[in-house]
């Protein structure tokens, strides 16, 4: 047995180990990439925070989509819309009155709960008519619903609305101020203020990390990322239980052949409504945690591309596998989403470039002088790198569907039962 095979055997034993290996691998990669970008310790730790945060976010979203699509085969391409419903409902309930996109100023837990309920409700309403029909109709309805939601939020009509003497609104095209990042309460005396004296955890952690050269913002950001990781863990736990149960078994049967499931006495429509609602609630939750970190949201965060990001994360990991969803979320967020930006910073750091070529023609022309730097510089400009990121996503998607349609982990071997089925024989 080679070392690689031994490593594979060790990793193959449990999903937890696999997750650990992937996480450590991605961290190692970003630590190696840090000096190439010219990052100091603070910058390195911040880049690790960023991939942790995004990985947890896309892990949660992929898990929720996996429940709907991977398990029950419900083709929801309106993920962004349900995310928006969660965030904006939370904002309207809990944002401060009088801010841009005015809210009611209710306590944040009320807002979060309200956001979850609203996402659930909109999920049920959007899906009820379509769930009676074949899968394609659900796809059309959810995509349309998501766009209707985004355009409604964006509309100046709902920027500020007076209802029974209270002014609320989405902020329209200007976007909406959200309650401040709740984790700040643990670190600052006045969490709402831009600069405030430290309190509680801040008293202990700030001096220690500042001694190492890590800024307060990065410390607070890490604390928030840690909260997201915990929530990701809870969602994972929940969905593993949902999947590994008689309920999950019926979901799989619906995915494989709905007529068979109903011929065995399962009320498939009711199962579909329930699972769709639960998935939408979790999408709302993930989005709320995402936007709360910045205290601001606008309709441009809920373009259809957002939905496709989640699909790509799930396809990378393997639809049908909960562990795969989390790994797909991490790989997508770190390598495909953040990766190109890292490449840009590395190029900017390693090559001295005085003037970035204006056009591709200029950039290619300078290759004649055997100097690749201008072409590289041209490639990694802001505009081009985000376009190239989309190209990269497309290439990865085509490659996966051609060569690994089941994703990294989509072997669909997570047996839907609360007990080890083979145990009956081998006992």
């Amino acid at each position: 047995m080679t070392a690689l095979e031994r490593a594979r055997a060790w990793v193959g034993v449990s999903d937890a180990r696999l997750l650990l290996v992937v996480a450590l691998g991605l961290y190692a990669l970003f630590i190696v990439a840090a000096p190439l970008q010219g990052n100091d310790l603070n910058g390195t730790i911040n880049s690790l925070r960023r991939i942790t945060f995004l990985s947890a976010l896309y892990g949660m979203l992929a898990l929720a989509l996996n429940l709907q699509w991977g398990y029950a085969g419900l083709f929801n391409i309106g993920v962004a819309g349900f995310m928006a419903v969660g965030v904006y409902t939370m904002g309207i309930l809990s944002s401060a009155p009088g801010s841009t996109g005015a809210g009611l100023g209710l306590p944040l837990p009320v807002g979060i709960l309200g956001g979850l309920l609203a996402a659930t409700l909109v999920g049920v309403i959007a899906s009820l008519p379509a769930l009676r029909l074949r899968g394609d109709y659900l796809a059309i309805v959810t995509l349309a619903a998501a766009e209707i939601i985004r355009l409604t939020i964006r509309s100046p009509v709902f920027q500020e609305v007076e209802l029974a003497g209270v002014v609320v609104g989405t902020g329209g095209p200007q976007g909406m101020q959200l309650p401040e990042n709740p984790i700040r309460i643990l670190f600052y005396q006045d969490p709402g203020a831009f600069a405030s004296d430290p309190a509680l955890l801040g008293n202990v952690l700030f001096p220690f990390f500042e001694g190492l050269g890590v800024t307060k913002t990065v410390v607070v950001g890490w604390a928030y990322a840690a909260v997201l990781l915990v929530v990701l863990g809870l969602v994972y736990w929940l969905l593993v239980r949902v999947g590994n149960s008689p309920f999950g078994r019926v979901l799989k049967a619906i995915r494989e052949d709905e007529l068979v499931a109903s011929s065995l006495g399962k009320d498939t429509r009711w199962f579909k409504v329930k699972v769709f609602a639960l998935g939408c609630a979790l999408m709302g939750l993930a989005a709320i945690l995402w936007r709360l970190s910045g205290g601001y949201t606008s309709s441009s965060s809920y373009m259809p591309i957002q939905t496709f990001y989640v699909f790509i994360a799930l396809i990378i990991g393997g639809a049908g596998s909960n562990t795969g969803s989390v790994i797909g979320g991490a790989v997508f967020a770190s390598l495909l989403f953040e990766g190109p930006l890292v490449v840009r910073r590395i190029v900017g750091n390693l090559f001295e470039i005085d003037e970035v070529p204006r056009t591709l023609f200029d950039a290619v022309g300078s290759l004649g002088g055997l100097d690749p730097a201008p072409l590289l510089a041209y490639t990694v400009t802001d505009v081009n790198i985000s376009a190239l990121r989309l190209v990269l996503l497309g290439v990865v998607l085509v490659y996966l569907i051609q060569n690994r349609p089941d994703g990294l982990l989509g072997h669909r071997k997570e047996v839907a039962s609360s007990v080890d089925l083979a145990g009956g024989e081998k006992r």
């Binding site: 239980r241 949902v242 008689p246 494989e256 006495g265 047996v415 089925l421 009956g424 024989e425």
Partner: protein, 269 residues
Amino acid sequence: MSAGADPGAEPEDALLAVEDLRKSFGGIHAVDGATFGVAEGSLTALIGPNGAGKSTTFNLVTGVHRPDSGRVVFDGTDITRKRTYQIASQGLVRTFQIARELDEMTVLENLMLAPRHQSGEALWRSVLPGARRGVVREERELRERAWETLEFFELDHLAEEHAGNLSGGQRKLLEMARVLMTDPEMVLLDEPMAGVNPTLSEKLLDRIHDLKAEGYTFLLVEHDMDIVMEHCDPIIVMHQGTVLTTGPPEAVKRDERVLEAYLGGEVAE
């Protein structure tokens, strides 16, 4: 056995009674006034040439299609307008002409899916820690039954295989095993022997006879006349959407109209 005015068995004392069932698709009267009954504990065959309306009748009885008119009564309950899942949960389950396996589920998962009224099919019970313990207990018992059923059908060596990897004959066996896991009162078998090699089909028939002895009721659509004549009694013959005659194999074999129907052409009234 006299045919004529009332070719069906007496629907009143039958486990399944079909009365004057009709269904048209466009201009085609697929089922055109079919009336028959299936007695409890019998192994009844439903035969007829292609296009006689056998599969449509199955679909009407199991709620896959809604009949235009007529009545279906199962075990004393009118199930005419009920949904497929409601009919199945009353104990009337079916198999499909082309085996419909749940490809990306294992053989064991296929079987564990089937039992009716599983408490763990409620989302909250599967999730909440206290309630889940009851679900786990129930699953352990079902697992025992699943393994017994697999052994009965000699599929136990394939237990953890994905159903999509099974051969055609094995799929037929799995489909039958799955239907039995629902603990049904009556099973509708749509061409269970089609595409199954003779040895396996003998085995399947043995299984069916064993189960019949245990009190199960079967209604079977089959094209292999040797099998039908040897194993089934009574035999219901359908032609052009109606029931032509019903009777024991000897009577059906001698019925000239049956012969005519199979050879083609209209049947003179």
